[in-house]
Amino acid sequence: MKSRAYEPVLTPQAEQALPPVTGDKAGLLADLERLLPPDRRVTHQDDLFAYECDAQTLDRALPLAVVFPESTAEVSTLVKACNARSIPFLARGAGTGLSGGAVARESLVLSTARLNRILEVDVPNRQAWVEPGVVNMHLSKAVAKHNLHYAPDPSSQYACTIGGNVAENSGGPHTLKYGVTTNHILALEVVLPDGTVTMMGGPVADLPGYDLTGVFVGSEGTFGIATRVLVRLTPLPEGVKTILAIFNTVVDACQGVTQILARSILPAAVEMIDQKTLRAVEKYIHAGFPLDAAAVLLVEVDGLRDDLEEQAAAVIDACRAANVRDVRLAKDDAERMKLWKGRKQAFGVLGRLAPNYYTHDGVIPRTKLPEVLAEIARIEERNRVMIANVFHAGDGNLHPVVLYDEREPGAIERVRKASDEILAVVASVGGGLSGEHGIGIEKLAYMKDFFGEADLAEMRKIRDVFNPRGLCNPGKAIPTPGRCIEPGGGKKLPVGH
């Protein structure tokens, strides 16, 4: 069948990270016809567009094919076929990633959509074996009847998969108290990049040997493909209290965070939402946020019901010490759910404020929040861009959202400059480039600002132990040496939505 001419849309850094594939594509396509029934492979160009990118849409490239394996053995066979034909490959969950980690230029995409079974739930020992395509929220719903849940809760949890969470070491609002993905993964069955199957970790504590599970989680799909995941299940909290604190300035709200953390309580979540976001959220979701506030904090305490009043009182007291304008408890579950809906859908509604937006994910020491937020406001003004802030304040995990219209002359250059300045501030206070979204291809150029060449070389060496031929999700997570990558380079942004 004749295909229309197709050109990938890749930023210069992505073009460098993902060069055209030179392996035996025709050979692999022939293999796929032999290995899988037609309903479990996609090879026609028109059908491949859905797999051009993940939720980071600035970098787009068509894969060679998409396949839907249903077992570990099939994944292994497909990976071995890729090796024989020298074709790169990667695993893809729901495609909700925010750093371009699932862009598979001329490569094979192994979708986990049909590896979506919850295999075994061990209620007394609080663990479950699941396949990587299980949706995060489906797992929590499935075990709720046992009074358990899977604690990491990314905002995309209604769609994102456990396999993707493992690859990205995903976070979420409640990781302040409960930890991120890595704290909840006990063992992995992995198809290594050469197609062999191995087990990492196990259902029991303190296994002797190196912590392969610990280094695999967060490796952004560059160490292999997890085909079964043993997760820890956490008892549901007996009670929850959600507090809405309203501030007249962003700096006061930041001080509120500092004050809360200085009390001897550990809230489940401390989220900040600024005025631009509040207004956007109210317009579309009506969560009950005040429109005239400079910022609000959404704070949640949970656990045994006995001291929740006391904990909530401590939070309220801390906010008062930070010059809060008004602070109140959500009166019931309905109000609580509405407030959280507003928070979790904030990114979606921000997308309606401007045709384009790009979200940063830098993470900073929490005491630096007031000065960094003040600096971001100056960056916004100086570069004549619009920046909204809605983020995991308790963890210091910023999400400045730069809103723009790419058709406006000079807009992209201004956004790029603002982005560089934001990341420079994050680096200058000892922060990290990404708190939870991953490096993917979009942040590669900035890695040198956060790690030295020796650190990156060590990371590459470990990757090469797992992935010696470099066929498993090449070009992602760690920049390739010897290629001087300029952020953005040409007209396009390094990063974007």
Partner: protein, 372 residues
């Protein structure tokens, strides 16, 4: 004994010497396989708390800092690093290298949950780091996880950064006398299954100082706020016919210390660690005197050195392995006849061996200590 006073001096010595054994306070030199020849490298002079910003709940220390000294610094700010491994004088580097932990891990986790950044000296003297000083971070691979429990074989840890927590307002131990270890297990498992949130669930046969010997005990650790403690006491009192003894304040403190130091009391014996899922553990434990971290599924046996130990441990391991668990030797007198015949690990696997081979092909770092 080499005594470098800085990371640069550690790196210089690593470049110069053919083989080195990094040592903190030396509390766990009897852990792991018998080392191959090499010079001891003391980390004791790298004893600086590099930074502690209380408002960030993050602390960075050099590897030779003793945990007790770190806790004292943190106490000034009503914070702590929530880990309670044995030996008061143990250093942070040694605790990381041996993945040492204590009874409260049930609530607060182990080093892999607390460590957020590291600096290490590699076998060629190159200093590298991973992670950082922020509590949530996906920038670069989590290489620091590989150094936990690696006995220094992948690099000499020079600096570590941790998440810390506010100290709990109250801390108590609730003690139940039991007629047998089986009974203690079943009591503690019922606590684990309840709505309570204990920070430790320990079954003891050979009681620590202050507890009658030769009896079995079930201990429930509770920490947090006063109302949470009251809730626990109320429900724990209805759980069981025999009324528990409740220790708070200083008496609880010394019992916590005794629990923490259980492994330190018998350096002349061979200590075997058995792991299983919490509800499986009691079914695979041998009858020998033991203590068990019931909530996490770990148990230890202290055994006199004997020629038949490898066979006996192999049998226990086979039984544990049927349920996904294991039995390995954790420590043994050094030297001890037949020490090399003891099962020190699970044999590792190809990936672990490849990582070791890539990182330290000449086996310069802590040679002999670890099976992978």
């Amino acid at each position: 004994m080499l005594t470098p006073a800085s990371e640069e001096e550690v790196a210089a010595l690593v470049r110069e010497k053919p083989a080195l054994h990094a040592v903190g306070s030396g509390t766990k030199v009897h852990h792991g396989q018998t080392p191959d020849p090499g010079e001891d490298l003391s980390m004791a002079k790298l004893d600086r708390i590099v930074s502690h910003e209380p408002g960030d709940l993050v602390v960075t220390v050099q590897a030779g800092v003793r945990l007790a000294d770190l806790q004292e610094e943190l106490l000034d700010h009503n914070q702590w690093l929530p880990i309670d491994p044995p030996y008061a004088q143990a250093t942070v580097g040694g605790i990381l290298a041996t993945n040492s932990s204590g009874p409260r891990r049930l609530a607060y986790g182990t080093m892999r949950d607390l460590l957020i950044g590291i600096r290490v000296v590699g076998p060629d003297g190159t200093v590298t780091r991973s992670g950082g000083k922020v509590v949530k971070n996906v920038t670069g691979y989590d290489l620091h996880k590989l150094h936990i429990g690696a006995f220094g074989t992948l690099g000499i840890i020079t600096e570590a950064t941790f998440k810390v927590r506010p100290r709990p307002q109250v801390s108590a131990v609730v003690l139940f006398p039991c007629t047998s270890m089986v009974e203690a297990h079943s009591l503690l498992l019922s606590v684990l299954a309840s709505s309570l949130r204990p920070v430790a669930l320990e079954a003891l046969y050979r009681g620590p100082a202050g507890l009658a010997r030769g009896k079995s005990w079930a201990l429930v650790g509770v920490e947090g706020t006063r109302p949470v403690l009251e809730r626990h006491l109320k429900e724990l009192r209805t759980l069981y016919a025999a009324q528990p003894q409740v220790l708070e304040g200083e008496t609880a403190g010394s019992l916590w210390d005794a629990l923490r130091d259980l492994p330190a009391t018998a350096r002349e014996s061979v200590r075997v660690r058995i792991a299983a899922k919490p509800h499986d553990l009691v079914h695979i434990l041998p009858a020998e005197p033991t203590w068990a971290r019931v909530g996490t599924g770990l148990a230890w046996l202290e055994l006199a050195p004997a020629a038949d130990l490898p066979d006996r441990i192999a049998q226990w391991h086979a039984r544990a392995a049927e349920r996904g668990g294991y039995a390995v030797v954790e420590s043994a007198p050094l030297p001890m006849p037949g020490r090399e015949k003891l099962p020190w690990g699970l044999g590792g696997n190809a990936l672990m061996r490849s990582i070791r081979e890539m990182r330290d092909p000449a086996r310069k770092l802590n040679p002999g200590r670890m099976v992978v």
